[in-house]
Symmetry: none
Subunit: 239 residues, 4 copies
């Protein structure tokens, strides 16, 4: 149990409330990871968090809200890091973009677990108002991250939309790839054999490779559209 406050102890300050809210979210996550499939029940979450069922409903309106909060955390964390890292990184290179995109491996290890539930489960059970608010914030984050990538690659403002589309393509690709690479645990071992290798590639390897392909090709196309010998030549430099 993730008791951050003693039994029956109330969170009075904003900070304590944040902590309690977080303990609920973390409990939901840990249960989800332990038993993938359906979203863990409120009952289980409350038990895990060491609070009563009613308390969880003080902090979240519905079960799905908890998972939406989790997903939001992971997605924003990913995008914020991308933005921050690329604006600090001096050398403009495709590889550093790919490396940064792949950074979820360390910092947001559960990003794709949650994102994979997003479409089929979470978003479908959220109040449309709450969902819209989530999407609004998310669109902003995606745009900021795309801008950081564009600046890092020293592309001009006209290419804003292209970079945004590329970022979404990377997101889509990673989302799909994660699903491809993670079959149900019940048959994971049965798919170890050589004949199933095609159905179950290694996520890290194929993800990185796919992203590289996407961004290499993007830089090639971008360069073509520019004057030969333009500033983008450096993008081909392998770091």
């Amino acid at each position: 149990m993730n008791k951050v406050l003693g039994d029956k102890q109330r969170a009075r300050t904003a900070k304590e409330k944040d902590r309690r809210r977080d303990s609920i979210v973390q409990s939901a996550l840990s249960l989800l990871l332990a038993q993938p499939g359906a979203l863990p029940t409120m009952n289980a979450i409350a038990n895990q968090a060491g609070v009563s069922k009613g308390t969880t409903y003080i902090y979240f309106d519905t079960k799905e809200s908890i998972y939406l909060a989790l997903l939001e955390d992971e997605l924003h964390g990913w995008l914020e890091r991308i933005e921050k890292q690329l604006s600090e990184e001096p050398s403009a290179s495709i590889d550093s973009v790919v490396d940064t995109l792949m950074g979820f491996n360390e910092a947001q290890p559960n990003l794709w677990t949650l994102a994979s539930l997003s479409h089929a489960i979470i978003e479908l059970n959220i109040d449309s108002k709450e969902l819209l608010s989530y999407k609004t914030k998310l669109a902003q984050r995606f745009k900021s991250a795309a801008k950081a990538i564009r600046l890092h690659l020293q592309l001009d403002e006209q290419q804003t939309e292209d970079v945004e589309a590329m970022l979404m393509q990377s997101y889509a690709y990673l989302l799909g790839q994660w699903q491809v690479c993670h079959p149900p645990k019940s048959i994971e071992k049965l798919l170890q054999g050589q004949s199933f290798k095609i159905l179950q590639p290694d996520f890290d390897r194929s993800a990185r490779q796919g992203l590289s392909q996407q961004w290499q090709q993007f830089s090639t196309q971008t360069k073509k559209q520019e004057a030969p010998g333009g500033v983008l030549n450096r993008l081909f430099r392998r770091s």
Copy 2:
């Protein structure tokens, strides 16, 4: 109601049984498309198919089995068509590969609807034996399709695994992109504005573009690894 046989009429011949089985599957599909979100209930499926609940359990062990059968149909249809079309197509070009991959638009319009439920819902609720059988057949199909692509691109046997990986990457990309492009209907209209464009690209357009990038880049890399002026030059020809 999709009554293919009269009420309470028995399906005696194998053909009749197939027809009844199919009517269940099609009923499940039509309900799923009508009300996306959760998988339609067995009650609804049986009603729609004009049979009793018990009868559906004669043909399918679980509810998810029905959807797995649907998914299998769509996936095999897609892969078989790829295989067939590419082996008939004489001119080896990236574009024809991409065109063929995009052929689901006409022939398997519900492929991604089902595939998007696959990871989060369907596969998790299937008996592992049945799932393994499904995966075995599917792996075969993927390999055959990949082989057809390889032959079409006139690549040699050593590149078998590369092409297989590429095909899976395309599958993963399309799977993810479809999910990205299809938010819940409840907020679809609310996301029409310009500021949400990044979150909701047009599926056909971005899918084709993404596939092109993937395969263009693949051909570039493949060519690099070969002797200069090798057989793959023609892949750059835009059809």
Copy 3:
């Protein structure tokens, strides 16, 4: 437990289903009478009826439907009996009308218990379509009963509406009087004293008296409107 069918035994014929449905309704009634206040829960009803919770939902869509069915039974029983009895009764007299209206005492002993929940609880929680159907049937019954009363009193067709209004006034009066006469059991004994007599009249006595007043006055007024010495003189005859 009201088991009319053995455990886990299925009601196959329409008759058996009616019996099972009835056993659910009767269980609901017996629980309601035992513990007035809130409507007994579905759990309790199912237990009492010796069926599972799910079974009750086969026969009734909601909990309130059960009570609406009960109320309907009692109300229709009351009105049908009024209709039947008055059309058989030869002597046209106010007293026989009042006697017949009071007949619920024997035949529909729970009529007012249920009717008193109708306004504040039952009707508020019923699907509007079902409620409309209930009201439609009820309106018919009330009209038929009013017609029987009118014919019994040898009033002509022009007085249809007056008699209908009178019948509703009697219904309203009995409904209110029952509520007045039946305080919560928790304080029933505490209200025995003389000083509370005003708040807790005897239902039968005051109900009969009130009805007599209503119909006597009605006949007086009706007579006034007629030619002096008209057919209604006989209504004043005390039986």
Copy 4:
């Protein structure tokens, strides 16, 4: 929000406490009228009154206590006005009694809304001690009002009980009639048609008519028992 005192401000004087108590009661009423059906929750009441949930429990022991207080206000208001008005009115007539009884229309517009919840909901959830106290006061008020009516009608003391019974019959009749005339809002419009007219009379019209019948008949009976040409002749005078 009905803030009568600033947020978190204490009610120190008795007057302030009365005001706060009243603001809770009025909030409960406004919510009840806005959303008929179930009694509004304590949460909603507290919010509406601009106080915390805990504070409402300082002023009332249970939720139903609030509604009992409301009901008491309306009932006492009604009865007091009857008493006052009739003792001031010089001309003794049935019509003025009926007019006075109908005075709730202006002065206690929510009397029957609350009274209709009384039997099925409010009284059943009140502590018996509190309920007894309520009933004791109410019995007094009813008696006083009945006495005023008796004096107005110039009846002698022997008829005390008869008039009391009559007053309760009027109360019962109005209570029932109000319930009959007010179906759930959800189907109010669906019952507009002619065929439902019987089920949904106009409250004001039928209430006045019913009361007139009751009291006319009462005066008739009372007169009969007296010497012919007695003091009650004037009761037949139509005002």
